[in-house]
């Protein structure tokens, strides 16, 4: 298991509503899977739903890969609904 690091997590739209905030710093193992686990525990069903159907933005790349390493910043993105 990797060491925990400080990760700045930004929330958008339904993710921000589920978290009750736009941004926070979490001490977590820096992987997408660990982030998902921590967020599901902290914020329950609404956040779990966002994570199931949404994606993460890591280093400018939208990803759904649970093994994706994350560094100091990650954005939680609900499913897109433009147009």
């Amino acid at each position: 298991m990797a060491d925990e690091v400080a990760v700045t997590v930004r929330y958008f739209a339904a993710a921000a509503e589920a978290a009750g905030r736009d941004e926070e710093v979490l001490e977590i193992e820096p992987t997408a899977a660990a982030l998902r686990r921590v967020l599901a525990e902290r914020y329950g069903a609404p956040m779990t739903r966002v994570l199931e159907v949404g994606s993460l933005l890591v280093d400018g790349v939208v990803t759904r890969d649970p093994d994706r390493p994350i560094r100091s910043k990650v954005d939680v993105l609900p499913p897109f609904a433009g147009g």
Binding site: F12, E17, V53, G54, V62, P79, F80, A81, G82, G83
Partner: protein, 137 residues
Amino acid sequence: MSVAFAVVTDAPLDADAVEAAVLSAADGALVTFRGVIRNHDQGEAVTRLDYSAHPDAQAFLAAACRAVADRTGLTVAAAHRVGELGIGDVALVAAVAAPHRAEAFAACSDLVDEIKATVPIWKRQHSPDGTTAWVNL
């Protein structure tokens, strides 16, 4: 091929400007899509949509336009509006110019699909009873 422009704005969209940006003297076809706020969704009445965007949404919109321009060899442009939009308001203008109509129609459809799939924009739908729901969630 090129991206004439790609803009995310909270101001009303100027479809004429989007079209003018893509059209050249070599084009015999100009296809523009306007995404318009409608008063229903999946059988439920809708009174309003609130659009919000990631701070990098405009860069993603430009990348979507670039992907379609590269695939088709055509000039494309798009503008997406955010904020509180009412029934009949235009949320998206996407335009493609081409020498002939078939490729312009196909590329414009491709462009709209690409934008919907890749640009981090969200909308909250308001119902007549005051409830709201996030679209696609």
